[in-house]
């Protein structure tokens, strides 16, 4: 049976890991388009309009992938974890349901924004793209709430497998909701500007044709890097709040994430390294005395629970420490890069090309790094909840389906995602190769309606 559970987890984790890439883009791109549209209205600078259009074009392809993989996630929840969904249905069905209406909001206004962009006045364009952004944000917040419930279940009583005394809205407003939602939303808003910065930096690296084109790409790059840096700082602040939340409600998760074996005051923060369960210590990490106590409790002598405070069979796998550090590490690095870019730009204001080639290559890496952060963050969040699927109430192994052939399905879905991943990149690259920036700059109004397909 062990293999069976592991396969089911692998299949589900892969599906979510794949969906989350597109979902994050789906949350962030509408905001960026909105910002570009508003900037265009305020400054009358045509470049912003072109940015909005080109980002929207990419979005229409990505959206198809995010919707279908999302549908897959929603149904796979029932197919792979039927016992879990029986509880979900009785206690926490509401966010899933309300989410549908958020999708709908997004779908309708996306059609209008894309399809009627050249016919409706600017303020209606802004209005519809704001509703697209709102719908996307709401859907992310609602689904994250379901995840928050799995971390801090409440609003019902559970004895001997039976659910009684249900309060659906209490379940919705569970203690993990504020920190989780804030962190997920802001981190999506941080990720997307960096992805778009990757695209702009790459555009600058290719043999640049015209001065005009370079100006455009640089403008896009600076806009994206500054937004990315700004949201990056907010992500770090909200991540700190998440850590404090963990210290209070899920100390075991925090202890695993930080590789802290012994409960203590003045707990050190260990950055990196490998958590060695056999010797009960974290090796090769950099230790910062008392820092963990400070981060978790706001006091240098704060008391932090370690792994020893919990039964061994409830420990999650301890490699989650490295997932956590990868998330924080990539995030911090990105903030540094954004600040650095701003500094260099300010210092070399007079120069024609402020950024040397190697630095542009660094910018190209920012988008992928942000995605690594997102993936590591979710995997940390989900894996360090193990062995529980609903924290403290239901074990993952007790939730899994009885159906055979999970391995076969895993193989099929892996192939599907590989195909989609490659094909989506090829389609996007091919599309933008056939519709180069120069074309949009020269004839800003042509080919807009025809080339975009309605989502």
């Amino acid at each position: 049976m062990v293999d069976h559970v592991v396969l089911a987890r692998a299949l589900f984790g892969t599906t979510l890991g794949f969906h989350i890439i597109f979902a994050t883009l789906g949350v962030g791109i509408p905001l960026m388009v909105l910002i570009a549209e508003v900037s265009y209205t305020l400054t009358n600078d045509h470049d912003y309009l072109i940015m909005a259009r080109r980002w929207t074009k990419g979005f229409t392809v990505l959206l198809a992938v995010s919707i279908t993989t999302g549908t897959t996630v929603a149904l796979q929840l029932s197919l792979l974890w039927p016992r879990f969904m029986r509880i979900v249905g009785q206690v926490i069905a509401l966010p899933f349901l309300i989410e549908i209406f958020a999708f709908f909001l997004e779908a309708v206004f996306m059609s209008i924004y894309v399809y009627a962009a050249d016919r409706i006045p600017q303020r209606w364009r802004i209005f519809s793209v704001s509703l697209v952004a709102l719908g996307a944000a709401l859907s992310a917040l609602l689904i994250t709430d379901a995840n928050a419930f799995m971390n801090t279940p409440q609003g019902f009583r559970f004895d001997h497998g039976r659910v009684t005394d249900v309060h659906p809205w209490q379940a919705v407003f569970n203690p993990a909701l504020p920190t989780s939602d804030l962190h997920v939303l802001i981190s999506a808003y941080m990720t997307v500007p960096f992805i778009l910065a990757t695209v702009a930096a790459y555009g600058l690296l290719r043999r640049v044709r015209s001065q005009r084109e370079r100006q455009h790409q640089e403008k896009a790059l600076m806009l994206c890097l500054s937004l990315g840096g700004l949201f990056g700082i907010m992500t770090a602040i909200s991540g700190d709040a998440s850590g404090k939340f963990l210290a209070k409600y899920q100390p075991l998760k925090l202890a695993a994430g930080e590789g802290l074996f012994h409960s203590m005051r003045h707990a050190p923060l260990v950055v990196g390294g490998w958590v060695d369960a056999a010797h009960q210590q974290t090796i090769w990490g950099i230790r910062i005395p008392s820092a963990l106590s400070f981060l978790a409790t706001d006091r240098w002598d704060g008391y932090v629970k370690g792994l020893d405070a919990f039964p061994r069979d409830e420990w999650p796998p301890l490699f989650v420490h490295d997932l956590f550090d990868a998330m924080v590490g990539c995030g911090s690095l990105l903030i540094v890069v954004a600040l650095g870019a701003w500094l260099i730009k300010t210092l070399r204001r007079k120069t024609d090309q402020p950024f040397p080639t190697w630095l542009l290559w660094v910018f190209v890496l920012t988008g992928p790094l942000a995605l690594v952060s997102i993936e590591c963050g979710w995997c940390y969040g989900c894996i360090s909840r193990q062995p529980w699927i609903i924290y403290g109430l239901m074990r993952t192994a007790d939730a899994v389906t009885n159906a055979p052939h999970v391995g076969l399905m895993f193989g099929l879905f892996i192939s599907l995602y590989a195909l989609l991943g490659v094909a989506t990149i090829l389609v996007l690259v091919g599309y933008f190769r056939r519709h180069p920036l120069t074309q949009d700059i020269q004839e800003p109004n042509s080919g807009w309606k025809r080339t975009v397909w309605l989502p």
């Binding site: 992938v65 897959t72 792979l80 009785q90 349901l97 309300i98 709908f104 659906p168 989506t424 109004n445």
Partner: protein, 350 residues
């Protein structure tokens, strides 16, 4: 009526909405593939024009249905989820391929034909697989192993019951799509496409009816409990047959382009399926999954029921006008004007 029955009714309604929207959506994909090559015929582009703004909304209905099952009948979500991994997984893979390749087809001009074929064929298979779930729900394909229910896949896909549902699913899908697309071509003022789709609808609808009758017969032989119930719901099926006659007559008479008649044919067709599914749905009660899973036993608690109903009704009240509005915006008369639009002042003002 008990709360559980209200829940079942609501679920049935959502299923019907998705069945109609989905049939037309996948069917339009099929026709878009069928006419992808023929440049001079507009039939393919009519199908595409229908599809573009609507598939996403159709997809929302699928998710809404799935979520409503979980919220209203967690017990059913549990038991169905437990056995449906393979068919469900296959449906999801096909659905993903279908949608994503359709999106690709619009962004890549070069391989558009291949992509359209992939999305057309997968779109044909999805309703077929969806309907095979009906065969499962009638019982006889789930056996108990080690105390757990397991789906007998080999048995399922060699049974005539399954295949009759599959045939019915595919035929209904392309027939309904042809009727709706005929109406849509008419609204869009495309006479050639109108004639093409009307012809297809006329050819296909008798075959679809035969398939339905055959399906009913085979199913009755396979599931005696259902046969008895189906017989007592015969009035619904008679009503459905009358609607079928109505749609056939309207189609026959709609020689020229007369919006009224073709619209009537579309309404009759939908009514035909509506009555037939009511009859079938009533006959299927009280079971979700015969013989282990009933509507009452899988129902959620009353707290959740109340909250779900409130959210659903508020949501649908918002969703429905929005849906109608979208429909008018994109599918109404002249919505598909391909006239090059006049560049807006705003676009050039800098």
């Amino acid at each position: 009526m008990t709360d559980a029955m209200w829940g079942a009714l609501l679920l049935w309604l959502l299923m019907f909405l998705y069945a109609m929207a989905g049939s037309v959506d996948f069917g339009a994909g099929f026709w878009s593939m069928w006419y992808a090559d023929e440049r001079e015929l507009t039939a393919g582009s009519i199908a595409n024009r229908y599809l573009s703004p609507l598939w996403e909304v159709t997809n929302v209905f699928l998710v809404l249905f799935a979520v409503a099952v979980v919220g209203l009948f967690p017990g059913a979500a549990f038991q169905l989820g437990d056995v449906l991994l393979v068919p469900g997984g296959l449906i999801l893979i096909l659905l993903t391929l279908r949608t994503v390749f359709m999106a690709y087809a619009h962004a890549v001009e070069r391989h558009a034909r291949l992509l359209r074929i992939i999305s057309g064929v997968t779109g044909l298979l999805i309703p077929a697989l969806l309907l095979s779930i009906f065969a499962i729900a009638e019982g006889g394909f789930v056996y108990i192993s080690n105390g757990h229910p397991v789906l007998a896949l080999g048995h399922l896909f060699t049974s005539p019951v399954t295949w009759s549902y599959i045939a019915l699913g595919i035929l209904s899908e392309i027939t309904l799509a042809a009727v709706i697309l005929a109406d849509f071509s008419d609204v869009q003022g495309d006479a050639t496409a109108f004639q093409i789709y009307r012809r297809h609808a006329l050819q296909l609808s008798p075959i679809a009816l035969l398939a339905a009758a055959a399906c009913l017969a085979i199913v009755s032989a396979h599931a005696p409990w259902l046969a008895v119930n189906l017989w007592s719901e015969k009035l619904w099926f008679i009503g459905s047959a009358i609607c079928y006659a109505g749609s056939l007559v309207s189609l026959l008479l709609a020689v020229g382009r007369q919006s009224r008649l073709i619209r009537a044919a579309a309404v009759w067709s939908v009514a035909q399926y509506f009555l037939a599914t009511i009859g079938y749905g009533r006959a299927h009660l009280p079971y979700f999954l015969y013989p282990t899973l009933t509507v009452d036993a899988s129902f959620t608690n009353s707290e959740m029921f109340r909250s779900v109903m409130i959210v659903l009704l508020i949501g649908l009240a918002i969703l429905f006008p929005g849906f109608l509005w979208l429909w008018r915006l994109f599918l109404g008369r002249h919505s598909g004007d391909e006239r090059p639009s006049v560049p807006r002042k705003e676009g050039t003002r800098s």
